[in-house]
């Protein structure tokens, strides 16, 4: 069954001048349709301004469709009475780690979501403990968020969402402000949650190396989905990806260049090991 269903979705940012007259209309999303199955790890790629964050905000009912519709676990996001159930079902992690931590102690921040849901005190403690354990931050439960690294802060933010027991997590560029180690940390945590707890993951990013383990990748440009497929399928189309102002991992580009020069390599090489193996095979022929 599908976790998220997006059908013919369009969204327009309308700018008005001081008198309330329409100044400009910016179509951020242009009739997108897609479905995400339960338990999937989905990545949405796109350059800045491609509409990927706007799409993410629709899943959490922060924005409402101008046209078309979005369903989370069968609930229409346009209906007001579904609002809180949707937000609990599809939790959202944002870009800036500082601006989404509310409390001055890690464990209290993780407890913020369950408190809002009216979960009984004892169960809050259980959930907080489980969630911090799941993201590997239990030992920091009494720390101040200000003392953590960027990657650790994002893991706390993820724990804060996990404590609400969502079926799906939407991560809106969670690594954009992190250093390479923080990025690895966060992506590893998210993959782990996807595998172990079977949480559906929708990862919005412009870092290509973060999506090579996804079940499916969508590439967006100008509010539309331009490419859709497994990472291997997507990464075998290097020229097309570059056209959408994106990049590929260095090793993928290298394999692609070699292939263009006539070397017989398989499509869409994603890791160093794959490339080394492929070259070994050719040399032993």
């Amino acid at each position: 069954m599908e976790m998220i269903k997006v059908k013919d979705l369009s969204f327009e940012y309308i700018r008005r001048d001081e008198d309330g007259n329409v100044e400009s209309i910016n179509k951020a999303i242009d009739s997108i349709s897609l479905e995400v199955n339960k338990g999937d790890f989905i990545a949405v790629l796109g350059a800045n301004g491609s509409g990927k964050s706007t799409l993410a905000k629709h899943i959490n009912a922060i924005l409402y469709p101008t046209e078309g519709g979005v369903w989370v676990n069968g609930l229409n996001t346009a209906e007001d009475r579904n609002l809180w159930e949707i937000r609990q079902t599809a939790g959202m992690v944002f870009q800036n780690p500082d601006n989404q931590i509310i409390a001055t102690v890690v464990e209290e921040d993780v407890g913020f979501g369950p408190e809002n849901l009216g979960v009984p005190t004892e169960e809050i403690w259980e959930r907080v403990e489980q969630s911090l354990e799941a993201v590997g931050m239990l030992e920091f439960r009494n720390s101040s968020p200000n003392k953590l690294s960027g990657g650790q802060k994002q893991r706390v933010a993820i724990a804060g969402i996990m404590a609400m027991k969502p079926q799906c997590i939407v991560l809106d560029e969670p690594t954009a402000m992190l250093d390479p180690n923080g990025r690895k940390e966060v992506i590893a945590t998210v993959r782990e949650l996807n595998r172990r707890e079977n949480v559906t993951v929708i990862l919005i990013t412009h870092h290509m190396d973060e999506v090579i383990h996804a079940d499916k990748v969508f590439v967006m440009e100008r509010g539309r989905v331009m490419m859709e497929g497994t990472p291997r399928e997507i990464f075998s189309r290097v020229d097309e990806i570059k056209k959408y102002r994106l990049d590929v991992p260095q090793v993928t580009e290298l394999a692609y260049e070699l292939k263009k020069a006539g070397v017989d390599l398989p499509d869409g090489i994603l890791t160093v090991e794959e490339l080394v193996e492929a070259i070994k095979r050719i040399k032993s022929r």
Partner: protein
């Protein structure tokens, strides 16, 4: 410079005092402050000093940490002592030009100084042993009756705790923007009042822009985590009085009674 001030800072530990209900500490501190103005005898000062000493001992906050906080208020203290010393009428014991020191003045100055130290020690002991969040929780619960007269108690305490979370972040940001503008040749240090005020614009505008951006982000993140005001909310750390809290109240009351008794009958003891 701002970071050197330890008044109001939390000192992490696990003492009895740290584990008390914040309401006990808030009310206790209030009673303590009131008690400071209930007596005027030497015995009173001894009782307060003993009580304060015992509480400091219980708090397990190192004396050096407390003393460092006191440094910041030395100026204020000298100021108060100065006024008491020179402007209290009484029998002159020392005179130089227009400066006159009286016996009453001297006594007032010393006792006022000691009282001020007591006051600040007592109230900073509360902040040393209570996290800002506990404080706001305690205030929220104490103020809850005000809800009936339409005071948004929950909202106020939520705002306070968010402010506490973002103060260090904004301080750091101020420092960063200041350095960035200095790298562009900005000068925050020289010139008259007007020039200095004007030189703050390149600092304040980006700071406000950033604060608004953060507020916006935070509001969105709170809503995404199903925040919808205080109704129907449960608490992860609800405030419930326990045995030690009642015991603490009892101690405070005994202390208060002792101070009042000394205030009334103290003179006869001398």
């Amino acid at each position: 410079m701002i970071r050197d001030i330890t008044i109001g800072q939390y000192y992490p530990s696990n003492s009895v005092l740290h584990r008390l209900d914040p309401r006990v500490k808030l009310i206790g501190t209030f009673i303590f402050i009131v008690s400071l103005f209930m007596f005027n005898t030497l015995y009173g000062y001894i009782v307060v000093a003993l009580f304060l000493g015992a509480v400091i001992k219980l708090s397990k906050v190192p004396f050096r940490f407390i003393a460092r906080g006191m440094k910041a208020i030395v100026v204020l203290m000298l100021f108060m002592m100065f006024f008491n010393l020179f402007f209290t009428p009484g029998n002159t014991i020392f005179e130089l030009w227009i400066i006159k020191v009286t016996d009453n003045g001297l006594r007032q100055a010393v006792f006022m100084g000691i009282r001020l130290i007591f006051l600040i020690l007592g109230s900073s002991l509360m902040t040393f042993t209570t996290t800002p969040n506990q404080l706001t929780d305690g205030l929220e619960k104490i103020m809850r009756p005000l809800n009936h007269i339409k005071v948004p108690v929950h909202e106020i305490s939520m705002m306070m705790s968010i402010a506490l979370r973002f103060i260090p972040i904004l301080l750091e940001e101020t420092d960063k923007i200041m350095k960035a503008q200095m790298a562009r040749g900005a000068d925050f240090e020289s010139g008259g009042v007007l020039k200095r005020a004007k030189s703050l614009i390149p600092l304040l505008v980006p700071l406000f822009v950033s604060a608004f951006r953060r507020a916006n982000d935070l509001a969105m993140a709170m809503e995404a985590r199903c925040y919808r005001g205080g109704d129907g909310r449960t608490k992860m750390k609800p405030l419930r009085y326990q045995g030690k809290d009642y015991a603490a109240y009892a101690c405070v009351l005994v202390y208060f009674a002792a101070v009042i008794a000394l205030g009334i009958f103290g003179d006869q003891l001398f």
